[in-house]
């Protein structure tokens, strides 16, 4: 039998301390559940599948110093050498690197005349080795053929080409039937869709069209060249090192600006999310820690203040376990009140954020998890002082203090 009523009455008669602790716990419930929600959203954001074999790919970015170099020839030669290297699975030149924060996007249209409905999309240019290098899953249609890869100067953009698009983009463009074989427009360039991949994230993961991407079989002849290389996961960094060495040895005049794994690029792109997660985790930890200290302090204070009362209760027949249960229930009561108030605060805040910042409403799971966790921390924090309380001898009741 849990003696809730006498405990409530007793708390009410000494309400200042308990109310302060309830307030502290409530704010903690509100702040921690909201912070957990934000952390959860960020983690989910980071964890979204990109469609890439993220752990296996690295990028090498070079700048050709000699003007007038034949980029087509250089790229083809480099590719041949890189693909032959041990540990390399495949490689491709690419215009921009996915999830890197730098890229190209266009508004695509379904006809040249009707330009009211546009379809924003990330545009990647790569070779017929692109799909296998990036690890993309072709779900419909076909890959590019080697003879379809066009090398051209930016000013000599061809009037038509073919494209492979993501499933999301295909569903937006042609929700009712297959996109393969359909024609779309990128500026004046006519693109025939030849294939659809399951997924390829754009360069900007936070963009609304992050899942809409189109791949063109082109390599623009520019002095700045990006290669993506896919290597065996366990040898990735070693392969990256030897590829860079190899490229340097082939042509010592060109500058290798940067080499980096996609995993690293992704970490950099999401650095603000990671920073937010770290800060909020620290806030959560500190709040919970401060609350634990508060509970230790308050419980110790109460136990010391009520030594005589505990002795009387023991004399009147309470067991040691009964004393412990009394104080445990007392702490549970505090947490229950705090849970109710904290939930209200959290939802007042959350609905405000929904209205003003377009955030989604705090899911109740986060509040429940926070309350349960706080309950556990409270019990652990109160345990030692409560154990001490149980050791108080019933003889204390007799002593005339």
């Amino acid at each position: 039998m849990l003696d809730i009523m006498p405990i409530l009455k007793s708390l009410w008669r000494n309400k200042t301390g308990p109310l302060l602790i309830i307030l502290q716990l409530s704010l903690t419930v509100a702040v921690v559940s909201t912070a957990l929600f934000v952390v959860g959203e960020r983690l989910e954001n980071i964890g979204r599948p990109s469609g890439l074999a993220e752990e296996e790919i690295f990028r090498v970015w070079m700048r050709q110093s000699s003007s007038g170099a034949d980029i087509e020839q250089i790229a083809k030669r480099d590719m041949e050498i890189i693909r032959a290297m041990p540990g390399v699975i495949d490689a491709t030149p690419i215009s921009y690197v996915p999830i890197s924060g730098a890229g190209s996007s266009w508004l695509l249209f379904k006809s040249l005349e009707e330009k009211v409905t546009d379809f924003p999309s990330a545009i990647y240019e790569m070779s017929d080795h692109g799909l296998s290098t990036l690890g993309l899953e072709l779900i419909e249609g076909r890959n590019f053929n080697a003879n379809e890869i066009q090398y051209y100067e930016r000013e000599n953009t061809p009037e038509q080409s073919i494209t492979i698009i993501t499933k999301d983009l295909a569903n937006k463009l042609f929700p009712d039937d297959s996109a393969v074989g359909k024609v779309i427009y990128m500026g004046n360039m006519q693109l025939t869709i030849v294939g659809i991949v399951e997924r390829l994230m754009g360069p900007w993961p936070d963009a609304e069209f992050a899942t809409s991407s189109a791949i063109l079989p082109d390599i623009v002849k520019e002095n700045s060249l990006n290669y993506l290389v896919r290597a065996d996961r366990n040898q990735r960094d070693a392969v990256m090192h030897s590829v860079v060495e190899k490229l340097r040895s082939i042509d010592s005049t060109r500058l290798i600006v940067d080499e980096k794994s996609i995993a690293q690029i992704k970490r950099e792109t999401y650095s603000s999310d990671y920073a937010m997660i770290k800060i909020l985790s620290l806030v959560i930890f500190l709040l919970v820690f401060v609350n634990a200290l508060g509970i230790v302090g308050l419980t110790t204070f109460w136990v010391n203040q009520r030594r005589k009362q505990i002795g009387i209760r023991r004399a009147l027949g309470s067991t040691k376990a009964g004393v412990m249960r009394y104080f445990m229930v007392e702490n549970v009561v505090l947490v229950v009140f705090a849970a109710v108030i904290g939930t209200m605060i959290a939802y007042v805040n959350s609905s405000y954020m929904v209205r003003t910042h377009g955030m989604s409403l705090l899911p109740i799971e986060y509040v429940v998890i926070t309350v349960l966790f706080l309950l556990l921390v409270t019990m652990l924090a109160a345990y030692l002082p409560i154990r001490k309380a149980a050791q108080i001898s019933p003889v204390v009741a007799v002593a005339n203090v």
Binding site: M1, D3, P6, K9, S10, R13, N14, K308, Q309, I312, R313, R314, A315, L316, G317, S318, T319, K320, A321, G322, S393, P394, V395, A397, V398, N400
Partner: protein
Amino acid sequence: MIETHALRDFNLEVKEGEFVAVTGPSGSGKTTFLNIAGLLETFEQGQYLLDGQDVSRLSDNVRSKLRNEKIGFIFQGFNLISDLNIFDNVDVPLRYRGFSAAERKKRILNALEMVGLASRARHLPSQLSGGQQQRVAIARALAGEPKFLLADEPTGNLDTLMARQVMEMLEDINKNGMTIVMVTHDPDLARRANRNIQIVDGQVTDFKIYESYVDSDSARNADVASANKSATQTI
């Protein structure tokens, strides 16, 4: 650890319905006797028979249960719980006993009625006089229908008038058949009991039986027997 013998060659038998006063100067072992008789403390040697049961070597939990069921405590400082009102104070031992809410309520109101404080059930202890508080404590002690009342200087914190009222109440309760063991240093108070035990240096040195004590049934079994032989107290 120093081993001291707070009580030696101490033998006391209290019969059901008796009103026994235990006196003695401070440091005589009176408090040790009280703690042992009240099952508040353990002792090393000797035997304590309570209601025919050997309660000398019991676990803390069992002793808690026995205190709750068989002993009604009345303390010098009343020892009411200040956060709880009169009703809830009397309720404390009954809750440990595990009575139903209805049973507890009946017992509480009866007990408060008996000490004349039923109308004060919702008052806090601080709103009552010392004498009234001690009567609440008596109600709390009686509500569980214990085997005996163990009173520790029950009038020590009261003025003369209130002390007399409380004493008369204890006498009434005893006349109704309740066994009372009262520890006091006050010889005048002790004289009002049926029997006086004096403890000096941990030993029973003297006891007097007053005329007012009439054992209506001397053949009755000894119901409350306190530590005989030597009780060794370890400090």
